[in-house]
Amino acid sequence: MAQLIKNHSPASDSWSVLQLAEGETPETVALPAGDVIFPLAVWLARKAEIVSCHKRIGLLLQPDEPVEAVAGDLEYFIVIAVNFPKFVDGRGYSTAALLRQRYRYEGELRAVGDVLHDQLFYLKRVGFDSYALKEGKDPAVALQSAFATFGDSYQASTDQPQPLFRRRA
């Protein structure tokens, strides 16, 4: 199991991701109860149904899935998980930046997939606030130093909307 880190400490995870088995389609898959993170396609196909039977709703975005598709739906989500199938696939950083900066999403924003120690600083900067650390990666190492690699940053991003040059003494 991936270890969840939230608010800079290990956290338990109540959410499960709905996985489509072979032959299941977004239109026909059974919607489980509980805290469920729905793939985008399921959300788009079954929105009314999901809203009617779930109070707490999560969404999963893949790297190639545009945030624009859910820009009007963000109030429904308690958590949005952004998947990093490979940590070198950097599209999720733009996804997060857009969700936070442009669409003002304020719920939990979770990095899932190939989430390693050495990317946590950048993930935090663009607006993630929870991290499903890849299995086998020591959460202690992550918590010790990974979020504080750098004491400041030049650019504006989600966690610091003012670039350094506007703050420089």
Binding site: F87, S94, A97, L116, Y122, F150, S157, R166
Partner: protein
Amino acid sequence: MYQYDALDRQLVNERVAQFRDQVARWKAGALSDDEFRPLRLQNGLYIQRHAPMFRIAVPYGMLNSAQMRTLASVATQYDRGYGHFTTRHNLQLNWPKIEDVPDILAELAKVDMHAIQTSGNCLRNITTDQFAGVAADEIIDPRPLAEILRQWTTFHPEFAFLPRKFKIAISGTRDDRAVTWFHDIGLHLKEQDGQVGFTVIVGGGLGRTPIRGQVVREFLPWQHILTYCEAILRVYNRYGRRDNAYKARIKILVQALGVDAFAEQVEAEWAHSKDGPATITQAEFDRVAAHFGAPAYQSLSPLDAAFAEKIQHEKSFRNWVDRNTHAHKAPGYVAVTLSLKKHGVPPGDITSGQMLAVADLADRYSFGELRISHEQNIILADVRQADLHDLWQQAKAAGLATPNTGLLTGIICCPGGDFCDLANAKSIPIANAIQARFDDLDYLFDIGEIDLNISGCMNACGHHHVGHIGVLGVDKNDAEFYQVTLGGRQGNDAKLGKVIGPSFAAGEMPDVVDKIIKVYLENRHADERFLDTFDRIGIDPFKNRVYEGRAHGKAKAAEKEAA
């Protein structure tokens, strides 16, 4: 030049600590090779054929004498006493130990240097004109904005894992000397209606699929350059191809969408951030620009009498002045190229001893500052005419005064098969063989201005596509061969060379170049440079001469059959 403040320094030091920790975790097995690879690449560390290769950044080509001395001591202590300047303002060490790299970085950090993002699929070192701030044809000094861009690229959280590498070049002169038409983003500073801004070019690049960049915006006021670049990068990060590394550069995306559709997407993206907090303030521009003020020039007459006298009487001094000095804004001053193109030495290579000599020369004659050019030479930007003769003698003693800048043997050359894992063929021995063939200075001067560029593979680190004569190493049934192109050029009319025909074996290359030169000499009109003659007579006369008496194509196949 730009002086780090406490914060700039803190970030570089934190980077050293971060990388030290990453190396330790990799050695302990907590980081896999795959996990470590992008981390080390973003600190300039490759694992190569013989040893690791380590690439140190010289942002927009500027460094001071203290930094040069540190490079010298690092090369002595951790390597074999030399380094190699690349075509993108970097110094490469060919033989460091991986375990030593954190210590090397710590040494570099002491003089505000680093290897941040010198490799990997991220925002790379910003490059510019080696004569920035002093060139007689300069419209606007690009260095303050280059530094502002450097800071913006450094640890940009959204763009650390792009589809592919991303290179930005910026130029502020009438004649483009920064190859801006062949970068992912090329920026031309200009003035329009009293306002300073950029023409923004996107999607150029050499490499496997050489493409000239296209203008996405004719004029962008300078204040918006960060938000505009962010818009470009965001479109690229989201939509650039990630399925095939050979098709992942932004040029492929721009080609696929068409420049107009691409520009539309960028403008739509930019509309959200335009005038936002990342808009550069006048105060920030002024803060940075203050570091690039003109040094304390003396007021001198445009022509020093003693200098004029020496030029008259000493031919070899005159030759050197002719090739290796360049017009300067300030009367009585010139910019000087210290050539790293001595015949028989790998082009761009410099020993620790030479680095120290160069640092001394900078202190003595050029306000303690140096530049690296994309032609892999060192520039002293602010030298008094009256000092040239002394400088020349000292440079000569250090092996740095070969008067071949812009001539046939001032070759741009990548490390090639001697060092680089990606190479198809060696490039240094080809450069040296051509230098040996054309070792007669009078002849070289007679041939005149000509750029010969060599790359060991289609990654084109040696910029072969834009050489007047371009040489590309290719692999033919496991043997090293060389493809020749003619008519390429950098500058405002930057253009790719045309392939002359089937490739050649290494041993043939000096003859091939010789024949090309002969065709030029036989056909040139008075005052025609190689390129002018080429443009007038076309490629055929060269082709005919080079392949004269050679069976190729069908005839060669038939010959092989028969054998």
